[in-house]
């Protein structure tokens, strides 16, 4: 069986890719996509830990992923609605155009 470390290292790499996307892209929707990748990496961690844990019968890791997917869906919906309302005002989803508040 593939060692646990491989999964964890892979999840860490995916998390970093998502973080890079979230920090470096300038389009709000792409930032949101980066955040989804980070959440997915965390989910993979949970499942890998669950699979390799001595108390796997308790299904704790799986339950966490189930809830995290639900939360991510709700969060994405709210985020996209906020992006729509931004678009109404600024006619753009580029973050550099959204800079009224400063100081």
């Amino acid at each position: 069986m593939t060692p646990l470390h491989y999964y964890l290292i892979f999840a860490a790499l995916l998390f970093s890719v998502g973080l890079a996307g979230a920090l470096m892209r300038r389009n709000a929707i792409l930032v949101l996509i980066g955040i989804e990748l980070m959440l997915n990496a965390a989910n993979l961690n949970f499942i890998a830990f669950w699979r390799y844990s001595p108390t796997a019968n308790e299904l704790v890791g799986l339950m966490f992923v189930l809830f995290s997917i639900g939360i991510a869906a709700a969060e994405a919906a709210v985020g996209l609605a906020i992006i729509i309302s931004i678009y109404r005002h600024h006619r753009s989803t580029q973050l550099q155009h959204v800079d009224r508040l400063k100081g």
Partner: protein, 542 residues
């Protein structure tokens, strides 16, 4: 697992959820065509009834039975915190009457109440899953509420920043939680506390850092504060007030709980000489950056809401000191501090709300809008004086005792006063903060207003709230014992998870400094010893 018992333990939360649904249904089904003002009054009245019922339910609620450990914890401290949260939510509701930021009163009240439910569950949660779900239930309605003023571009901009930074840090938190779960094999505080130890494994610190990022965002500690000034300025003022008060209480309590109760083995030390790795030095770094950045950046602000935001960052720095003291005394001082701070901040925002309505500035108020306020409304300026001086930490107001307890708890906690340097820094930055707080008061009391001073329009419910909050700040300052007594004996969370706290040598020091301080701490220790179930742990500690 007994469903009825679970419902009984969660009756207050259930009442608040029901209230939210009723308010939404009444507003959308019955009052569709009614005038805006009537809808607001009805919605807030329903809220008031529901919140009152929930507060009563909380005051008669029994502590949670042992089988709920690992899921929920209810005791008198959580009940008091929840009552405070409910009162703050009610005030945020009352402040929104007659404000023109939205037509959708039903939705406003619903989201406000559901966010409060999230905070109440956050205060009670006893495992990582419930904590994460409750944290999201707290945050999501606040993101939407921030964008509530659909005519204002700043409102949606603030919301976008709040949302993006918030979900970024939530993703970091979730990754940190996944590592904590993997390292300990469980998600309850007890499982975490018994398995996680600071060792040579860097992965433990990684998990700590990621978890810390999530909470540092929630409490607006620098350098994760970037959303705070924009949200405070762009959000509708009642919403900003609720974010600054209610969300702070719940997040700080959970912040302290997870690190003190669940991760005691990985604390480390932040002593000036001989720091060891762990979460304490990380929190110390956050506290130092927050205190300096918050208080220095506040000086340059022209908008009072932005100024309050930077001052909130500074205050978060002081509150972090209480967390890193990592003692039961620190927990008590933290709760006293955040509760009094929340009431004060809510009061200050309430005054700003009145002024904002009065000047009708489209992009929020500025410092000069407060010019000559003492002529225009002596009552309002007196209340603002109380709030601002309490934020600055002037005795005998509540803010002074909050800082005082925290500084004592911090100075006491490290071995051989190793944390004194942090206290020194905190006192220094408090002195800086006096400058910008006095700037506000200078506008109110010294500078003349432009043109003829016209009296400020105040509504009875609103002014009653403001005066009540000012009185609370004053009374809590004159009689801090009442509040600190509520927290000291009952911050048993730390003990339940098997943490051994240091013996309290504070009593002697406190007695030298201020005879009145001794009383609460003395009774606290006394109460602890009266309770049989804690005798063993107390004995261990000494």
């Amino acid at each position: 697992m007994n469903y009825m018992e679970l419902l009984g333990a969660l009756a207050p939360e259930a009442i608040v959820v029901l209230t939210a649904l009723v308010a939404l249904a009444v507003d959308l089904l019955v009052l569709r065509q009614a005038p805006q003002n009537a809808r607001q009054v009805v919605a807030v009245s329903i809220t008031a009834v529901g919140i009152l019922a929930a507060i009563i339910a909380l005051s008669v609620a029994a502590p949670s039975p042992p089988w709920m450990d690992g899921l929920l914890i209810n005791h008198s401290t959580t009940a008091f915190l929840k009552q405070t949260l409910l009162v703050l939510a009610l005030v945020a509701g009352i402040l929104s009457i007659q404000s023109r930021f939205t037509q959708h009163t039903g939705e406003y009240v619903t989201l406000l109440l559901l966010s409060t439910v999230g905070m109440m569950l956050l205060v009670s949660s006893d495992n990582l899953l419930l904590m994460f779900v409750a944290l999201e239930l707290t945050s999501l309605p606040l993101y939407v509420l921030t964008a509530f003023n659909k005519e204002s571009p700043s409102s949606s901009e603030a919301s976008l920043k709040y949302f993006l930074i918030g979900s970024l840090s939530a993703a970091c938190l979730l990754f940190g939680i996944s590592l904590l779960y993997g390292l300990s094999g469980g998600i309850t505080w007890t499982q975490l506390a018994t398995t996680l130890r600071a060792g040579s494994e860097p992965i433990v610190y990684l998990a700590l850092i990621l978890t810390l990022i999530g909470f540092a965002f929630k409490v607006a500690a620098a350098p994760f504060h970037l959303w705070a000034p924009d949200v405070y300025q762009g959000a509708p003022t009642p919403v900003a007030a609720f974010i600054a008060s209610g969300s702070k209480i719940a997040s700080f309590y959970m912040f302290a709980r997870i690190f003190m109760a669940a991760l005691p083995g990985t604390a480390g030390s932040a002593a000036w000489s001989g720091a060891t790795p762990g979460w304490v030095p990380l929190v110390a770094a956050l506290a130092v950056v927050s205190m300096i950045l918050g208080n220095v950046a506040a000086i340059a602000q022209r908008s009072v809401k932005r100024l309050l935001a930077y001052s909130a960052i500074g205050h978060a720095g002081y509150a972090l000191l209480a967390i890193l003291s990592n003692t039961e005394q620190g927990m008590g001082s933290l709760l006293y501090y955040v509760v009094t701070y929340a009431v004060t901040a809510m009061g200050a925002f309430a005054v700003v709300n009145v002024i904002e309505r009065d000047v009708q500035a489209p992009n929020g108020e500025s410092l000069t809008d407060f010019a000559g306020l003492s002529r225009r409304s002596p009552l309002l300026s007196l209340c603002l004086l109380v709030f601002v001086l309490s934020l600055a930490g002037i005795p005998p107001l509540a803010g002074f005792f909050g800082k005082f307890y925290i500084f004592i708890a911090t100075a006491q906690s490290g071995t051989s006063q190793g944390l004194i340097w942090l206290v020194m820094l905190a006192i220094g930055t408090s002195a800086i903060s006096l400058y910008y707080y006095l700037q506000i008061l200078k506008q109110v009391y010294v500078v003349e207003s432009v043109g003829q001073p016209t009296p400020v329009q105040l509504r009875p419910a609103e002014s009653a709230c403001i005066v009540a909050m000012a009185c609370t700040v004053l009374i809590l300052g004159c009689a801090p014992n009442w509040l600190i007594n509520r927290f000291s004996p009952n911050s048993t969370e730390v003990r339940r998870a098997g943490v051994i706290t240091k013996p309290s040598t504070t009593l002697e020091l406190a007695a030298e400094i201020h005879p009145r301080i001794t009383a609460p701490l003395g009774t606290a220790t006394g109460l602890v010893q009266k309770r049989p179930q804690f005798e063993t742990t107390t004995a261990n500690a000494q």
